[in-house]
Symmetry: C2
Subunit: 69 residues, 2 copies
């Protein structure tokens, strides 16, 4: 099976597991919609930062909400 | 093997094969850097539109250069 595990970059060399065995990733509004192999879906306001398919790893980066100074 | 074939959306229901057996996709400048399982790389000014890992399909959408009217 060729699903991937999706991680969120939380720091320079830190990643946090967000969703396992993901099959589908597509844009949804400002962020992404992810669907795993069981059909469960998650939404996240993030963009794809890095993908390594042979290692089954996809890294996301959260989008910041714009702070008005 | 879990590499994917990368297509470019050229029309509403049309896609064109761009790069086969891709392992790595990462941001590069305004677009993407893709590396296949043999280490060959390609650059494209595009973003990821859709991914279906079980079907080994990744769809890109070309980024338009901004036209000044």
């Amino acid at each position: 099976m060729c699903e991937a595990n999706v991680y969120i970059r939380t720091g320079d060399d830190q990643e946090e597991l967000f969703f396992e065995q993901v099959d589908i990733i597509e844009p949804f509004e400002e962020g992404l919609r992810l669907v795993d192999i069981f059909g469960k879906q998650k939404f996240i306001n993030a963009k794809i930062k890095d993908m390594n398919l042979l290692n089954h790893r996809i890294i996301l980066e959260k989008l910041q909400t714009v702070a008005v100074k």
